[in-house]
Point group: C2
Chain length 293, copies 2
């Protein structure tokens, strides 16, 4: 029986224009640049060809990028947001994830390099609004052995759903810190329950989401970067099991292993240590890091 | 014999993140928006997956777009240029080309809506530098029958390689015009031989071309829009056969049927009509338009 090869032309043009554009990067002195640009051309041309994109539609696309340029400045990057809501940031995260270990997730726009070092056990909640949550766990390798003195870089939003960068009413250092874990890999801190929030909707990306009748919400999450010498750094998020939008994250950051229960906590030592008089929650999560190659 | 289906995963991720991002546009009220965005997501994710793009590389990509945003304004669009040098503008042109008729080509950034109407036979050359060229031909349908009174919108660069928009020394209307063809489809005008030129190289796209050791040149060309009621409008270019860069157009606009000889002309009537005392060239080209659906 004759078996015809899969008809690639149905999903990818092999038009001479596509071939020429792919080959145009052949002479780059960095072979990785040649590879990446040639694949970018191939798949963008495949998109145009499969969608039979019209000139008017392409002009609309250019106009969208031009509007995105106009709203982009040092504090606001519409291209980063576009990458997020198309799932590009997330799939980049997926393909670069090392095998084994805790799932990574997207970095997002609210990480700051200059968070303050605090002692393990720190109280980030202070006197602000929000249900208290005691976050604790360990940093382990993929065999479950503790990694001594790993570092956590932690950030989240406040009870009003905003990050300090969005909210002049907050201390710029609110609800973020760096912590060095113990020799047995353990860490703990007191914070508040995080909250769902919307991505910025005042630019062309927001307009696209609205036109597409897409949600503009992200589910609640803690954001954590875990690092230790000799291990691959981990950028990840922890999502409360009962958060709204957990099944409909507009930036596609939720991974199964990162959905965690926030359970009522009865630990009187913890209550006493932080002076807690109201019911509070407990989140227990172990991070598993992969050895660096 | 068992035949396994083509392994799509080798060129396209079917990761749940890709599926979710594709499906996220399902609810758009315009089904074409759903289709285009879902295919855009599919092919961008396929690019990330096949290239195994790293986070650092993706950050470089975002930085590239951010730099492109910074240099883009009302007079200069780096995204349009990026589209051109990746061959996107050209493949959009290819897929939207109706069957039959003269090949179309890219519009480029130098078309102006406000060119002046001139009589058929106009002299665009005046007293400026440049080898004179007599451009003539007819506008016909795909059966070779004349289309009466079709309109030409013509523009080209000057002998120094610049368009009026780039060159304060030129009259803004230099070397461009609109002409109504005769009842028999014929047109003619006197102009100069066009010249190769470089795309703008002072932005991130120029830097990419240099890093990639790509040419920044376009071959010489006339740009023409041909239109007539009842026919699909044609945006096209005519390239002198002997132009430099004819095989290496950095925006991939050259099509085989658009490469034309510029031949020495002995026509004394023409020489007399325009008062030509130096050798001049002749370009004879018939445009074929496709009936509108």
């Amino acid at each position: 029986m004759d078996v015809k090869p899969f008809n690639l032309s149905s999903i990818m043009s092999i038009h001479p224009v596509t071939q020429a554009a792919m080959r145009s990067f052949d002479k780059a002195s960095d072979p990785r640049l040649t590879e990446v640009m040639s694949l970018l051309v191939k798949h963008l041309h495949a998109f145009v060809t499969e969608s039979q994109l019209t000139k008017e539609e392409w002009m609309q696309g250019l106009e969208f990028l031009t509007q995105s340029a106009a709203i982009t400045d040092a504090d606001r990057n519409e291209f980063s947001l576009l990458s997020d809501v198309l799932g590009i940031s997330s799939i980049v995260d997926v393909v670069s994830q090392p095998v084994g270990g805790t799932s990574s997730s997207v970095l997002g726009p609210f990480h700051s390099q200059d968070s303050r070092w605090m002692d393990n056990g720190a109280n980030l909640a202070g006197d602000q609004d929000g249900v208290r949550a005691w976050l604790h766990g360990r940093v382990l390798d993929v065999q479950g052995q503790p990694i001594a003195h790993a570092e956590l870089d932690f950030w989240q939003n406040a009870d009003n759903g905003l990050y300090p960068a969005q909210d002049p009413g907050q201390d710029p250092y609110n609800l973020r810190c760096k912590i060095k874990c113990e020799a047995d890999g353990s860490f703990n801190l007191l914070t508040i329950r995080p909250n769902p929030y919307t991505v910025p909707t005042d630019g062309p990306v927001g307009a696209l989401l609205v036109t597409s009748q897409r949600s503009v919400w992200r589910p609640a999450h803690y954001h954590v970067i875990v690092s230790a010498p000799g291990y691959v750094g981990l950028v990840t998020e922890l999502f409360p099991q009962d958060s709204e939008y957990i099944d409909n994250d507009t930036v596609f950051g939720v991974r199964e292993g990162l959905i965690v229960p926030f359970t009522p906590c009865q630990n009187t030592d913890v209550a006493e240590r932080y002076g807690l008089t109201q019911p509070f929650l407990e989140v227990n999560f172990d991070f598993h890091l992969v050895k660096a190659p």
